[in-house]
Amino acid sequence: MPEVARNQARAVLEGPDIHRALTRIAHEILERTKGAENVVLLGIPTRGATLAYRLAERIAQFEGVKVPVGAIDITMYRDDLRLRPARPLGRTDLPPDGVDGRTVVLVDDVLYSGRTVRAALDALNDVGRPRAVQLATLVDRGHRELPIRADYVGKNLPTSKSEKVKVYLEETDGRDAVLLIKGDAR
């Protein structure tokens, strides 16, 4: 990663930390939803979806419940589409029984402005009517621009707006890590 090496990058979470954070979130979901009854985990592509599958694995391990898991792409619902060239779409993969009447736990890697989550709520609205929606995130880096908060947080990470948070996951990037990259003095 030459790009990262050039800037000052600091690993704030390593593999084992991510592992422990996800384990705790899985336990919290079980606790808050009384054994993950009627829960559907929906990840926001790409890394949120990976995290959703990992959480489902852990929940199955701890209590033997098979929680339906899927992905919901939010590209077409973004409010900043017109600020950048049209981007490729991610995959939407809903569990066969859908989301109607269930508790949906949205999963994303980093919670920042809250705009992604707002888009996800809109997208969710078009695929069904969940009984409730909760939010799980690996990293909450603050600087919210909308009235949105996470129900399950892996790590609260105070950042400045000029910094970047980059999440690497084994499945997509070959290793597990969360890096905090100092911003250039732009």
Binding site: M76, Y77, P85, A86, P88, L89
Partner: protein
């Protein structure tokens, strides 16, 4: 800046694959109960149709509406065109109305290209004369990939009135870009003069080509564009170049049959073949909406278009 979709030949392999992959994701939207996406809210798409069309116009209209764009339909009949207004004046009128995209079908080859020089929005060619019909080629490639799982190395026979077919021209260009091998099959009178320079094979004997083909695309015999005797009689054409039950039986088991529509049943394709399970003709219509959604999204969805050629 990339802005228009005038010709399938303008699309790079990356552009074409981006459109097909985007369409693949959008196909899932067509399966759910709420088929609308908010993406193009507030954008205006004008359908400018100087030639008759059912499926292409409706398909573009459905695609734009599913993306929440406002659609203005314009057909030459009953408009100022019948009072003698020129294409340029029509274009300037649309420009003044703030069209973000103009989808144009015109009888004259090159009309979309001219239009692109007059308007600020994106121009999408929905068929110009005997030149090109890029979205048809895209939806054909999409249908093939969905049915057969790949395009690379696929053997595609395009059969019939190649001379008058913008569909054939666009398909040859796009399929070549995507790595398929195209063979045109037609009587010599229905092949364009410059066909040697196209990136494809040419054959005159349909029966010899059929067993080697993965896809057989039948073209409509365009009687309305025929001002000379290109073949002795419809009956003879049908006997030598029509896809009937006997010829259909010569295809290998996984091969598919396509037709861009509208069909002349009994002429280039028999009703039995058109309605068989291996015909993608109805599927092609559904895929047309998804592929056109992908094109409109990639041209209009962002701050600047992600595909297409510069003019």
């Amino acid at each position: 800046m990339k802005q228009h979709l005038i010709s399938a030949a303008d699309l790079t392999r990356e552009d074409a694959l981006l459109i097909l992959d985007t369409a693949e994701e959008l196909a899932r939207v067509s399966e759910r109960s709420i088929k609308k996406l908010p993406t193009l809210r507030g954008r205006t798409v004008v359908n400018l149709f100087f030639e008759d069309s059912t499926r292409t116009r409706i398909s573009f209209e459905a695609a734009a509406k599913r993306l929440s764009a406002d659609v203005i339909n314009f057909s030459a009949k009953g408009s100022s065109v019948s009072k003698g207004e020129s294409l340029k004046d029509t274009a300037l009128t649309l420009e003044a109305m703030g069209a973000d995209a103009v989808v144009i079908r015109h009888g004259a080859s090159g009309a979309p290209h001219r239009l692109a020089g007059w308007v600020r929005g994106s121009v999408v060619n929905a068929g110009d004369g005997t030149h090109e019909h890029p979205t048809q080629a895209l939806l054909d490639a999409f249908s093939m990939r969905r049915r057969l799982g790949r395009l690379e190395g696929l053997k595609v026979a395009i059969v019939g009135d190649v001379l008058h077919s913008r569909v054939a021209r666009s398909n040859v260009a796009l399929l070549h870009t995507l790595g398929a091998e195209v063979t045109l099959v037609a009587p010599p009178t229905l092949l364009p003069v410059a066909v040697d320079s196209w990136p494809c094979q040419v054959a005159y004997d349909l029966d010899a080509v059929l067993p080697k083909s993965d896809v057989v695309m039948m073209l409509r015999v365009q009687l309305e564009r025929m001002n000379a005797a290109y073949f002795p009689s419809a009956r003879e054409y049908s006997r030598r170049y029509g896809l009937d039950r006997d010829r259909f039986a010569r295809l290998h088991d996984d091969a598919i049959v396509m037709h861009p529509g509208p069909m002349n049943r009994g002429m280039e394709i028999s009703a039995e073949v058109a309605d068989s399970a291996r015909s993608t003709i109805v599927e092609q219509v559904g895929n047309g909406v998804t592929v056109r959604m992908a094109v409109l999204y990639l041209l209009l969805g962002g701050s600047e278009p992600a595909i297409g050629g510069t003019e």
